[in-house]
């Protein structure tokens, strides 16, 4: 639920980082916090347990620039990844404008990824939000680990796509973030399929962190255009 404040000339948008526990959601925010100029970001708030596991959420406000005289403020949130905390996880989704799903590339975390993705769909549906109709990107994190699954395998299980029903969208749409690839295309069986945008990342070193953030922010602003 983006909020436009004409008095202070600000556009406020909410982006939520979702995904399985220990996948790197908080690390994404910490990297952004460390890299952006202090005058363009606020305080990083972490409601975490003593062992640094997210209990409720992490929060970081960042300014990404000015459009038409309006300051674009993005409020970045993470959710607690652990299955146990679903009640609080769901609360964070309230009023969300864009979602980043941080998947753990490790082969042994595949089931946890799928469980978290299903949980995201379920929680969004309870609010009446349709994930296929809003800014949504997937980040495959931990690409540097030796036990990381190949990208094709991750795509096949995490991002198989959804059928495009609207005739006007049944055409090849290029992926603006990955030259040479498409987000909407026709399968061999003739069905038109759309996939979420995706990025590879190593959040601990910062690789792919800003690519992901820029992509989701851009998609959010485009919904206002």
């Amino acid at each position: 639920m983006s909020m436009i404040n004409y008095a202070s000339r600000e556009i406020n948008c909410k982006i939520v980082y979702y995904g399985p526990g220990l996948g790197g959601k908080t690390t994404n925010l910490e990297h952004v916090y460390g890299k952006v100029k202090p005058d363009t970001r606020g305080k990083l708030i972490s409601l975490a347990t003593e062992t640094e596991r997210t209990l409720f959420f992490d929060f970081l406000p960042v300014d990404l620039g000015t459009i038409r005289g309006f300051k674009t403020r993005f409020h970045l949130y993470t959710v607690p990844g652990q299955v146990y905390y679903n009640a609080s996880r769901k609360l964070i989704l309230k009023g969300v404008d864009g979602i980043v799903f941080v998947a753990d590339s490790q082969v042994e975390r595949m089931e946890a990824n799928l469980e978290a993705m299903q949980n995201l769909y379920d929680n969004m549906a309870e609010y009446g939000y349709d994930l296929t109709k809003m800014p949504f990107v997937i980040q495959y994190n931990k690409r540097d680990l030796p036990n990381a699954a190949p990208l094709e395998e991750l795509q096949a299980s995490m991002n198989p796509g959804w059928e495009v029903m609207e005739p006007e969208r049944q055409k090849v749409i290029a992926d603006q973030f990955r030259p040479g690839e498409n987000v909407v295309e026709q399968n061999a069986d003739g069905v038109w399929v759309e996939r979420a945008h995706f990025f590879e990342a190593v959040a601990v070193t910062g690789d792919g962190v800003f690519d992901t953030l820029k992509a989701v922010s851009k998609l959010v602003l485009k919904t206002l255009a």
Binding site: Y6, I45, D97, M134, T223
Partner: protein, 161 residues
């Protein structure tokens, strides 16, 4: 407009009316400061003594606090708690729901009393509820109009180069 991004906006006139209502409340109660926060955690307005804390962080935590308490209310068979009170040694805060979309927070110290704040906040809540209903109804009817950033695609692209 994408599903799930029910935007709302308010004009400078709305802002003026909100500010006047809150100033009246502060004048009547001697509370230090009043903040309006929307349910997704964004700060809408601050009136009174400028807060000496990070207002953005405060807004986020307020929304989370209210949401968590709503869930607690449902667990015990209530639909929601429409007001909350947090008492400190010197500073206290009173939170009240407005039209299920916005939260009014009154910060006060020992220059006033909880009773007075609670009494006066009722009228303020009624006035603000009426005001916000108008803002939200207008938001709904305006959805068919082009958005604020209509035609700004190039500018958006430029921002992310």
């Amino acid at each position: 407009m994408a599903v799930g991004s029910a935007s709302w906006s308010f004009t400078e006139e709305d802002f003026g009316a909100i500010t006047r209502t809150l100033q009246k409340f502060l004048g009547e109660t001697n509370a230090r400061c009043a903040l309006l926060v929307d349910r997704s955690g964004q700060l809408v307005a601050t009136v009174g003594e400028p807060p000496n804390f990070d207002p953005t962080a405060f807004a986020t935590l307020t929304a989370a606090d209210f949401s968590a308490n709503d869930q607690l209310a449902q667990l015990i068979g209530e639909t929601d708690f429409n007001s909350l009170f947090h008492q400190g040694e010197k500073e206290s805060m009173y939170l009240a729901d407005i039209a299920r979309r916005v939260i009014l927070v009154a910060l006060f110290d020992n220059r006033t009393t909880l009773g007075l704040v609670r009494l006066k906040i009722k009228d303020t809540v009624l006035e603000l509820t009426k005001l916000f209903h108008e803002v939200f109804t207008r938001g709904k009817s305006a959805t068919s109009q082009p958005g604020l950033l209509a035609g700004a695609d190039d500018e958006i692209d430029q921002l992310f180069k």
